[in-house]
């Protein structure tokens, strides 16, 4: 069941700058969907429009097929976890978490019971009487999460909730968010610019760029089959070739270079790409499928591998990651592009 739909959403700021163009997606009940995209692509704006903190220029937001555009922010029954936690400084942890329940007119004893539950779920029971300023960043973000979850929101919105934390904390809190979301069966939309984070946490990923959606798919699909050049680049593909398909064959031509690909397409012209770590240096000079000659023209140490830039005779410069340090600048090498690692972009 689709819990939340966004239809033809567009947004321009008053300065005339268009930041969202025709955004369409939905989040199913109990699902965690993440919006992934570079800084300034409109993630926060999308989230704020859904929350009712900002108004769209056109299009609408619906919950269970009912448009909620006329519902004010404080009646939407959504929760948000902010990047900067946004806890109420004058209230204790307990009171922060209880705040939303109070607004809903719930009785004192019921509030105490419900807050206690959530605090124990988020391991905050011992901190219940602390003020936010006395907590660490990670603890503050857990309080923020508890405050968002306690009201049992129709939709939980998270705007880069982990980006102010250090890496170890980011990993553990990410697990915790996922665990709680699944345990409580909450529908959630998670915004991040971190690819790994988005893949690790979500059922589906929405990749955004420049105010529009590039791809919506599961993490595995996005990783293995990026739909567009932008997505491919964003998730680590480096080498792109425009090719044309030979009539009645599985051969693709890029200039004089013949390429074979395991995946089948029917389009006459496609764009292929391949990750730098999937390209092999060949020791034997045998002519294999998809192999070509080149000269090393750059070499950088990346830590996990060396990044070689190879000037090839048919496909221009190709980036190759390899653990071996054997090749030197100016060396003539032979590369193989494994046919099962070549991806055709849908675009």
């Amino acid at each position: 069941m689709q819990a939340m739909q966004v239809k033809h959403l567009s947004m321009s700021y008053e300065d005339g700058k268009k930041v969202l163009t025709d955004i369409n997606f939905s989040v199913n009940a109990g699902e965690l969907v993440s919006i992934l995209g570079p800084s300034g692509c409109g993630k926060t704006t999308t989230l704020r429009i859904i929350a009712g903190l900002q108004r769209q220029t056109s299009g609408n937001v619906a919950i269970d097929e009912q448009s909620i555009d006329s519902v004010p922010v404080f009646k939407r029954n959504m929760s948000m976890v902010f990047q900067n936690y946004a806890l109420f400084p004058h209230l204790s942890v307990f009171e922060n978490v209880a705040f939303g329940l109070k607004q809903r007119g719930i009785g004192k004893t019921a509030i105490r019971k419900r807050v206690a539950e959530i605090l124990s779920l988020t391991e905050l029971t011992d901190l219940a009487n602390h003020r936010p300023h006395a907590l660490s960043g990670g603890q503050q973000q857990r309080v923020s999460l508890a405050r968002a979850l306690v009201v049992n929101p129709t939709l939980l919105l998270l705007d880069e909730p982990l980006s102010n934390l250090d890496r170890a904390l980011r990993l553990s809190l990410r697990e915790e968010i996922r665990r709680l979301q699944q345990k409580l069966g909450i529908t959630a939309l998670f915004v991040t610019h971190d690819q790994e984070e988005s893949f690790a946490i979500s059922d589906r990923v929405i990749v955004m760029n420049g105010g529009h959606i590039e791809q919506i798919a599961s993490a595995q699909t996005v990783y293995a089959h990026p739909a567009t050049t932008f997505v491919a680049k964003f998730i680590g593909f480096e080498n792109f070739f425009n090719v044309t398909r030979q009539v009645n064959s599985d051969e693709y031509l890029s200039g004089e270079m013949h390429l074979y690909m395991a995946e089948k397409t029917t389009k006459p012209a496609v764009r292929l790409c391949i990750r730098p770590e999937n390209i092999r240096f060949d020791t034997s000079m045998n002519t294999q499928q998809n192999s070509l000659n080149g000269i090393i023209c750059d070499k950088t140490y990346l830590g996990r591998a060396y990044r070689y830039v190879v000037a090839t005779d048919h496909l221009g410069q190709i980036k190759v990651d390899s653990e071996g340090a054997t090749h030197q600048l100016g060396d003539a090498v032979r590369l193989t592009l494994p046919s099962d690692k070549l991806i055709a972009l849908a675009e």
């Binding site: 903190l53 004010p72 404080f74 948000m80 902010f82 946004a86 806890l87 109420f88 705040f99 809903r104």
Partner: protein, 270 residues
Amino acid sequence: MRQKKHWLLTLYGYLMLLLLLLPLVLVVVTSFGSQAAITFPIKGFTLKWYANILSQPDFVTGFKTSFAVAVTASFLAIVIGTPAVYALTRRGIHHANWFQTVFLSPTLIPEIVIGFALFQSLVIGIKLPLMPVLITGHFLLSVPYVIRMLTARLLLFDQTIEEASWLSGASKIKTFFRVVIPNISGTLLAIFIMCFINSFNNIPITLFLNGPSLTMLPTAILNYLQNNYDPTVSAVSVILMLLTGLMMWLMERMNGLTHVNEHLNQKGQK
């Protein structure tokens, strides 16, 4: 990385500090002299001048009226000014600068002119009684304090906290009273005290708007000084200094003095 301080500069610093405080100390000292004519060094020790304050009806009623006017005007300025500051800092008002200028305009016009203008057009022109006009004048004095100090505070107050409250289900008005106000209450109190001090001490506007039936303390002292020169004025001055000290202590407790400094930097008119 601080260069060694020059002894001459240090000497100068202490000298100026002395010159800054000495006049006030002198006032305190003379309030205890037993002679009716103030001479140096003072002779004897007495508290009778403090007692004498109470036998000056102008001082007693002046204190009460000044106090009441200051409280009323400060309160009005905060109640009326706070929504305006909130709108200016939070609601994306067009031409916010223009509004700011209007709200700060009481600092642009010399106080003595404000007093004269109010007297002429409200008291003489439309025959309003003195009291409401006096309060209006002091209200005008206080508005810029509310605007500047509160704007500074609200700009520092993270707006996402309010948004979190709206999302939690609290309406905008509820959020204002349950989230914003509790968090800026210290500043509001500091603003109140600043407005109070400023109004209580004001002379130029008060001058035009007091009268035989409406005595204000500063102008009462001013009048007294025209005809008398005895330690009663010293004694009243000491009381006023104690009041200032008390107010500063209150503000310091409110942590509001930082804002006060910011404000005074931009004002500086007396």
